[in-house]
């Protein structure tokens, strides 16, 4: 099912929760709504589900305006962060509740429940009550309940936030697999950019009720159009420094009191002559220079955060410019060590400090 949001707005009194949101979701697509808490993503989801009524604008399912259609007639399934299982019903009764309301014959209910339970790996739990299940099992039941009525649209509201880290990875993979197998159009709300990047075909980044970007994960990562998107996507987050880009001897240099960095002419030319701009460099695009290799920057190790596979190094360039990058723990970098750094300057980003828009992509 195609979902179109047109100028969708939701106000609570004077507070604008969702502001003129436009989104076109293709049939079978997996879209993530990504943003910090309070950015209006859950409000958007609940409007699509029919729980909240939009203040203005339209929601279209396959072209049909559904603003006034009650939730039960929208043919959507939803999975909640809190699982929202019915505590007084067994797993079987939870699963078949949507079917019972549709007056599906009992025999068919049993058949469908068995198939869904099989698919979700909860076949042995049918007689239990939600309170007797672990968090992961509860979430599987919730997912099964959303799937059993074969909805045209699946909605997820941070379904993995209440699970422990390990289980989250398993469930994430499972949701991805299920969605690909079943091909149901899905909208997934999350504040976790890793979840959004791994699951979604396209990500809608929201901030303070407004859509910041709507693009594929690669696009958001490689060509962020705003400073906010650049900072929000990617882990560890992008480094930002104020620089001025000047042209000298046919080279483009990003200059501030702490450093002079020759940057890729394609990118540098767009930021040159604009006075102060914000330069963004992803931690993964900074590496330690090997012996004999020329370095772009010299820095002093300021902080070392071991992440296991890598050490996250906070290095100080000059007096007050700090850059984060990842280093092999085997190198055993210590605070105060001098390091020589190379920067993949063909991948640096430039932003206007006033409008926070990218100078490279528009």
């Amino acid at each position: 099912m195609e979902v179109h949001l047109e100028h969708l707005t939701k106000r609570w009194g004077k507070v604008v929760a969702v502001d003129d949101l436009n989104l076109e979701i293709r049939s079978g697509e997996f879209v993530a709504l990504l943003g910090p808490s309070g950015c209006g993503k859950t409000t958007t989801l609940l409007m699509i589900a029919g729980i909240y009524k939009p203040t203005s604008g339209y929601i279209r399912f396959d072209g049909r305006v559904v603003n006034k259609v009650p939730p039960k007639d929208r043919n959507v399934g939803m999975v909640f962060q809190s699982y929202a299982l019915y505590p007084h019903m067994t797993v079987y009764e939870n699963l078949t509740f949507p079917l019972k309301l549709k007056k599906v014959p009992e025999e068919e209910q049993r058949r469908k429940a068995r198939r869904i339970a099989e698919m979700m790996g909860i076949g042995h739990l049918l007689d239990r009550y939600p309170a007797q299940l672990s968090g992961g099992q509860q979430q599987r039941v919730a997912l099964g309940r959303a799937l059993i009525k074969e909805p045209a649209l699946l909605l997820f509201d941070e379904p993995l936030s209440n699970l422990d880290a390990r289980l989250r990875l398993t469930m994430r993979a499972e949701i991805k697999r299920l969605q690909m197998e079943l091909g149901i159009t899905s909208i997934y709300v999350t504040h976790d950019q890793v979840e959004a990047m791994t699951l979604a075909d396209r990500i809608a980044v929201m901030r303070e009720g407004r859509l910041q970007a709507f693009a594929t994960p690669e696009e958001l990562y490689e060509r962020p159009r705003t400073l906010f998107v650049a900072g929000f996507i990617g882990n560890p987050p992008m480094n930002f420094t104020q620089v001025e880009v000047i042209q000298q001897d046919g080279q483009y240099l990003a200059v501030n009191p702490d450093m002079r960095l020759a940057v890729d002419p394609d990118r540098g030319s767009r930021a040159a002559g604009r006075g102060r701009v914000i330069m963004g460099i992803r931690p993964e695009h900074i590496t330690l220079a090997r012996d004999g290799e020329p370095a772009h920057l010299e820095a002093e190790v300021y902080l070392v955060e071991p992440l296991g596979r890598d050490d996250l190094i906070n290095a100080r360039v000059g007096k007050e410019t700090h850059l984060h990058f990842l280093a092999d723990p085997a190198l055993k970098l210590r605070i105060g060590d001098r390091v020589r750094l190379r920067v993949d300057t063909s991948r640096v980003q430039f932003f206007d400090p006033e409008t926070e828009q990218s100078l490279l992509w528009s």
Binding site: G50, I51, F80, A84, L85, P87, P98, L101
Partner: protein, 302 residues
């Protein structure tokens, strides 16, 4: 007992001391009940000891005080009335409170806050002050044809009918019931309700099939309290029904006291015990529910 000791973190000796203290404090009440029980089977008593007319102890045991059960047909009439009053009150209060509590907990409508504040004031209002004005309301209601005083079983909803007493008591009990039910609905997370709406339920079905079962302990507690309140109520039936010995058990007891002839306290005690028995039995079977409102939290999907 072990579990209790573990949970409170008290040593057995401290536990015994506390139990001794509580026994001491409840002793006056226990003695009171004991006296009622003993005196119903005695001609006279000296303290807790039954005596006969000459004052010899442990004599004069008799069933005479219970003779009202087979000699006065009014007792069965008032028992039935008390039962109807208690049941009618319970059904009315629970039904209306459960619906109003849901609306006040879940729906935003103009006047909601004011209504809640007003109900709270109404709950604090002493009902005695309303007696006279309610009397006029009931007199007026009695003039409505059929409904006023021509209904079977409850008589009607006007003055001097059982239905009228139920009506007044329901309205006096409602503020507490509504607040209690609202509190229980408030504890149920929104997501469960949303999930049910998306699963295809209407608002009414959500209330009936998803929310009501989850607040069962609350409904049970409210039912029990209301039932007992109705069973024991004296003031309202006493005021609005004219024949004491024919309205409810509480007024029946009062009618035994108010005669000019010397009062047979042993008989009063017997009727009192007769009124107490169903409540006691009721309590034994429902105390689990009553306790569950204090200890039970929401399970699953918080």
């Amino acid at each position: 007992m072990d579990e209790g000791a573990l949970r409170t973190g008290l040593r057995p000796r401290q536990m015994y001391f506390l139990m001794f203290l509580m026994t001491l404090l409840t002793l006056p009440i226990v003695v009171g009940y004991l006296w009622i029980f003993i005196s119903t089977f005695s001609r006279r008593t000296h303290g807790l000891i039954p005596v006969d007319i000459e004052g010899r102890p442990f004599r004069g045991l008799t069933l005479e005080n219970w003779s009202f059960l087979w000699q006065d047909p009014n007792i069965w009439k008032v028992t039935l009335n008390s039962l109807i009053l208690a049941l009618g009150l319970t059904v009315g209060v629970v039904l209306i409170s459960a619906m109003a509590g849901y609306a006040l907990s879940r729906i935003r409508f103009p006047g909601r806050k004011g209504f809640l504040a007003l109900t709270l004031i109404l709950h604090a209002f002493p009902s005695v002050t309303l007696l006279i004005s309610i009397y006029f309301v009931l007199r007026w209601l009695a003039r409505i044809p059929v409904v006023g005083r021509g209904l079977p079983l409850i008589g009607g909803i006007g003055y001097n009918t059982l239905g009228g007493v139920i009506l007044v008591m329901v309205s006096l009990q409602l503020p507490l019931g509504i607040w209690l039910m609202k509190g229980f609905f408030d504890q149920i997370p929104w997501d469960v309700e949303r999930a049910a709406l998306i699963d295809g339920a209407s608002r009414f079905l959500v209330w009936r099939k998803i929310l009501l079962p989850q607040i069962k302990p609350g409904i049970a507690a409210l039912s029990i309290f209301t039932f007992i309140a109705g069973w024991n109520e004296f003031l309202i039936p006493y005021t609005y029904m004219t024949q004491q010995e024919k309205s409810t058990i509480a007024t029946y007891i009062n009618s035994l006291l108010s005669e000019t002839a010397p009062v047979n306290y042993s008989q009063v005690a017997a009727v009192g015990l007769f009124q107490l028995l169903p409540v006691l039995l009721f309590f034994v079977f429902t105390q689990e529910y009553l306790l569950s409102i204090f200890s039970g939290g929401m399970k699953g999907g918080a």
